[in-house]
């Protein structure tokens, strides 16, 4: 670097006041900067054991507050055509207009866990999704979002299950599980969901939540239905919770209270669940449940699987935790038969 001109003019060894003061000024300014930076960043305690994050306390309660005035909390529909069944079922509960107000933003949680075709019934049926999304729009929903955090590659899952196509044709918006959507949640009464990443980013601005789930065998949990479907909101290495599968599903029932639960037992995966993979794993059970109570809906599913409440401990546990009632007949479900 070239020395500054005034320095050049000064013979070496001579005191130059101007130059000295300037240097004094620079040095002091740098010293003050260093000192203030050090003061600003001063950390007396040293690092904490883990990164502290502000955690949410849940995904929210989307259950209708006006439910008591409605015609019912549950409909059990028999038939084979999912579109007709779900329309009749929702009609029996007062129609979609009862649940969805003009301008609502509706979030539909599907089960898109695996990249398998709809015929294998390991995932939410796309025709059913299309029918529900259409009903939402008809009732005045401004936007319908569809999401899940699947086990296989999300793009493959949404495409191969037909759910992406169903969303496209009805105008619903598919939300893949981007990393940015996950935020830590600590359930106030939770033992397992503590500072755990949950897909909370899809919820801001959402008014209603509908969960659409298939009925499937599940060796560890006994059955995979509505409540187990909520597992798909968890992020991270969520599989560690399988050590206490009933505990985690019970906590999931506290994580989110949906507006409406649709349990699709038109076809039930009786064996080899929850992946299935063969038509021989399936059985026509011709039942679809529309309910505001996830525990009650799942209790019907248990019967479709030929099991009892004792085989699926998490239902009684969720009931005790206040998520619903396992004795679904208490809700006096409307019985609808669409095949007649």
């Amino acid at each position: 670097m070239k020395p500054p001109p005034d320095q050049e003019q000064t013979p070496t060894g001579d005191l130059n006041r101007r130059d000295f003061l300037k240097r004094l000024g620079y040095a002091s300014a740098l010293a003050v900067t260093a000192g203030s930076l050090g003061f600003a960043l001063y950390d007396l305690k040293g690092p904490a054991a883990s990164k502290g994050q502000k955690a949410l306390t849940g995904l929210g309660n989307y259950a209708l507050k006006t439910l008591a005035s409605g015609p019912g909390k549950m409909a059990i529909v028999r038939g084979t055509d999912r579109k007709v069944m779900v329309e009749q079922g929702i009609k029996a509960l007062g129609g979609m207009e009862f649940f969805i107000q003009q301008g609502d933003r509706v979030l539909i949680k599907v089960n898109a866990a695996f990249a398998t075709p709809p015929a294998l019934a390991a995932t939410t049926n796309p025709e059913l999704l299309a029918a529900v999304a259409a009903l939402c729009f008809k009732a005045g929903a401004a936007q319908v979002l569809v999401t899940d955090n699947p086990i296989n590659n999300p793009a493959s899952c949404f495409e191969i299950t037909g759910l992406a196509q169903a969303a496209r044709t009805t105008g619903a918006r598919l939300i893949p599980p981007h990393a940015g959507l996950f935020a830590p949640v600590s359930l106030p009464q939770g033992r397992l969901i503590q500072n755990w990443p949950v897909m909370a980013g899809v919820f801001p601005g959402v008014h209603k939540v509908i969960v659409i789930s298939p009925v499937k065998d599940h060796q560890r949990a006994g059955a995979s239905m509505t409540l187990k479907n909520l597992y798909g909101f968890l992020g991270g290495r969520r599989n560690v919770f399988h050590q206490d599968i009933n505990g985690i599903i019970t906590e999931l029932s506290q994580l989110l209270r949906p507006t409406l639960c649709i349990l699709d037992g038109t076809v039930t995966m009786m064996t080899n669940g929850p992946t299935g993979g063969s038509l021989s794993d399936l059985k026509e059970t011709g039942t679809l449940v529309v309910a505001t109570d996830p525990v009650a809906a799942d209790a019907v599913g248990v019967e479709l699987l030929g099991r009892t409440l004792a085989d699926i401990p998490y239902l009684r546990m969720a009931e005790k935790a206040g998520a619903g009632t396992a004795d679904y007949l208490k809700l006096q479900p409307a019985m609808v038969n669409t095949s007649a």
Partner: protein, 578 residues
């Protein structure tokens, strides 16, 4: 229009086409993503890939027939590919040009003089072809087209995926991506040392084109040897082929800057020899060529190592449809297309897992990515430009339809590690592997046992039908009411055990009353706390090695269930079941 303008348009076009194919090679549902776009087309134009795989396999794989177009054109007009098409050539030319802006003409001419080291690429070509002749295709390591695809697929595109979230929905991970990225940056950076450094000294594809250009009827030359000393033709000579003097035709990359620059228009591209004399090739030394032929020996020595046979690496799992190891290495050019496509992101470039001869070939790593090998996916075989991974159909992969008798394609077999598995050694229920096994009926099955938990034997208790009060320290760290724990009277191994449904204070609630010697109330009883464990086993006859289990196993470090290459369909020595 001036010919260099045409060249620049062509270069921009092919670079843009290349980038578009890279973009289209992204997994996703959008129209610009994988939709049958011809993303391999530039790789298929590559005569070096065609030649080396033909030497190694004694056959000419149909999609590589595009290479004939490049070959035939080169035979007539020379290395047009280097000057007009090659996307790496364009990147090199552009960086070399940017790095030399403002330099004086003398320095430019000096940078563009012919150097003997340019012969190296011919020796490298001979070496690689010798390897190919012996059945080991290594051209892709240096061949600019696979090299560029690999660099973008595994190092650059993931930056756009991960940091910016531009291409893929999810971040993509590639083992040793830094190395591929550093090599690429190194190649680009060397252009600051000399223009088109890689093209001049290393590129074996350029060397092959140089040889093919030996008899081109049309070529660059001077109309008269009688010209001044301006050297303007060499100021921007990309190939360092000595256009001012006795031109070396094999080095001419057809940048055609000399035509454009010559103030007297004494340089032409025409069907006659240069008036200043011409050489077909630089002077290659016989010694160098013989030394390069040592590749013949190298492959034989690789065989001595037995990596494809008895000394197989059990961790080397190849994608479904991959040929047996010997034949796989006669085709794989390490372009990375399969690894870019894989929706699970589990296809990874091998470093030394397949030996040095398998550098950057695709192998499965079930610890990375989103899931195991998805049963309904055949993407890797569909994009492989050389059929190192065969383009199998879904039916063949799953073993359905006409493939029902031969069964599904297996890439390995899962083994339960009983020293790490939670229900095997830690008294914890788990069963994630079983849940995710996608085969029907599942390849993973379970056997149920009831084990007395640690500190749970012979606890003093008062039994009151369904309620039991425990007097004694209750084992810590377990949720007794989780539905997985049971109570049994001590010393009566055959007595019915009852599921615990509730627990508070020291009071345990049971699903059914615990009968003790016929009475419902019993003081001074002793009870055991049991945990119900479903322990996983693998039915090797059903396991396809898809690795869903390994990927999802909650023992997150070294997984408690792992897939090894045993029983993979592609290899005979790996056969496990009789």
């Amino acid at each position: 229009m001036r010919i260099v303008t045409v060249r620049r348009i062509s270069q921009v076009f092919f670079l843009a086409l290349f980038l578009w194919f890279c973009l289209a090679a992204t997994l996703g549902a959008a129209f610009w993503q994988l939709r049958g776009w011809p993303i391999n087309w530039i790789l298929e134009l590559d005569p070096l890939t065609a030649l080396s795989t033909s030497l190694a396999t004694h056959s000419f794989y149909a999609p590589l027939a595009w290479a004939l177009v490049a070959i035939v054109l080169t035979l007539f007009v020379g290395r047009f590919f280097c000057g007009f098409v090659c996307p790496l050539g364009t990147i090199n030319q552009l960086t070399g040009w940017l790095g030399r802006r403002g330099q004086n003409p003398a320095a430019r001419v000096e940078a563009n003089r012919f150097r003997r080291a340019q012969n190296l690429k011919y020796y490298l070509l001979v070496f690689l072809l010798a390897l190919a002749l012996m059945g080991s295709v290594q051209t892709g390591i240096f061949d600019p087209l696979p090299l560029l695809h690999r660099s973008v697929n595994l190092a650059l595109a993931p930056l756009a995926d991960n940091r910016l979230g531009l291409l893929s929905d999810e971040p993509r991970f590639y083992a040793s991506a830094w190395l591929l990225g550093a090599l690429f940056l190194g190649i680009v950076g060397l252009n600051l040392v000399l223009p088109r450094f890689f093209c001049r000294f290393v590129c074996p594809l350029g060397a092959l084109f140089g040889l093919l250009a030996r008899f081109t009827p049309w070529r660059v030359g001077k109309t008269t040897d009688n010209c001044g000393d301006c050297r303007l033709c060499e100021e921007f000579c990309e190939g360092a082929c000595r256009p001012a003097g006795k031109i070396i035709l094999s080095e001419c990359v057809m940048c055609l800057n000399c035509l454009n620059r010559c103030p007297a228009s004494r340089i032409t591209f025409a069907g006659r020899p240069s008036a200043a004399g011409e050489a077909g090739l630089p002077d290659l030394s016989r010694r160098g060529l013989v030394a390069a032929g040592a590749g013949l020996l190298l492959v034989s020595m690789w065989d001595v190592g037995g990596l494809a046979k008895a000394n197989r690496n059990p961790n080397l799992i190849r994608p479904p449809g991959a040929l047996d190891e010997d034949r796989f290495l006669t085709r794989c050019i390490r372009c990375g297309q399969c690894m870019r496509i894989c929706p699970g992101n589990i296809l990874q470039p091998a470093l030394l897992e397949a030996g040095i001869q398998g550098l950057w070939t695709p192998m499965v790593n079930f610890r990375l990515g989103r899931s195991g090998c998805q049963p309904n996916c055949i993407a890797c075989g569909q994009v492989c430009p050389t059929a190192a991974i065969r383009p199998v159909s879904l039916e063949e992969k799953l073993g359905t339809g006409e493939f029902a008798t031969q069964g599904p394609i297996r890439i390995g077999t899962a083994f339960v590690d009983r020293s790490r598995c939670l229900p095997w050694v830690m008294d914890r229920p788990c069963l994630v592997c079983h849940e995710l096994c996608p085969v029907s009926p599942k390849a993973i099955f379970t056997r149920t046992v009831y084990e007395t938990v640690r500190g749970g034997r012979g606890l003093p208790a008062r039994v009151l039908g369904q309620g039991v009060d425990l007097y004694g320290p209750i084992p810590a760290g377990i949720n007794l009411a989780s539905g997985d724990y049971y109570l049994r009277v001590t010393g009566q191994p055959d007595a019915a055990h009852r599921r615990i449904t509730g627990f508070s204070g020291n009071r345990i609630t049971l699903e059914n009353p615990l009968a003790v010697a016929g009475t419902q109330v019993y003081y001074g009883a002793k009870v055991d706390i049991l945990v119900r464990l479903q322990r996983p086993f693998v039915d090797a006859a059903r396991c396809t090695g898809c690795g869903m289990c390994e990927h999802e196993c909650p023992v997150s470090g070294l997984r408690a269930i792992r897939v090894y290459s045993e029983n993979e369909s592609r290899s005979r020595p790996g056969r496990l079941l009789i």
